[in-house]
Symmetry: C2
Subunit: 70 residues, 2 copies
DNA sequence: TTAAAATGTAAATTATATGTTACAATTAGA
DNA sequence: TCTAATTGTAACATATAATTTACATTTTAA
């Protein structure tokens, strides 16, 4: 796999979107709090399935939440 | 993980975009031909990293290439 | 100030994305 | 029609996403 860095603004978007806690939001999306924590800390390269669920609940397109670091 | 089905139009987009072969396109993106084949056959749930690379080379947003099946 | 809630993270495990090698089936071009 | 290129896919190996359990640290609210 190509060595690129993917960034995201999931944490910011979660706060902006009704100030849900990580745990509440994780439950809503259908992943564990730990998975959400690692995604927000940008230590995971999540699957498109999770990203589409995040996108849906945050009401923001995937391309706005995730991008390739230059 | 939530039991949802993710669909994509990667194969169509690849053909439209200059009619590259699967192998040529896979090399461009930086994955193997087999991985590309499985993604196009919708048998994989690829990572956001691969999706962003696909999006870049196909010049179409991730949200246009991938969606959740209703 | 202090206790409860929220968050970060680590270790062990499970599930699965991706790679490698290989071959069969399909498609396209001569 | 024949052959080469393209594609589908299977088996096995590896890397890592995601879960589970658990605990320490930080933040929030009384």
């Amino acid at each position: 796999m190509k060595e690129i860095s993917v960034k995201n603004k999931v944490k910011l978007a979660r706060i902006e979107k009704g100030n849900l806690t990580q745990g509440e939001f994780a439950k809503l999306v259908g992943v564990t709090r730990q998975t959400m924590s690692l995604i927000e800390a940008q230590k995971y390269n999540p699957t498109i399935k999770v990203c589409l669920l995040l996108s849906k609940h945050l009401e923001r397109p995937v391309d706005e939440l995730f991008w390739v670091e230059e």
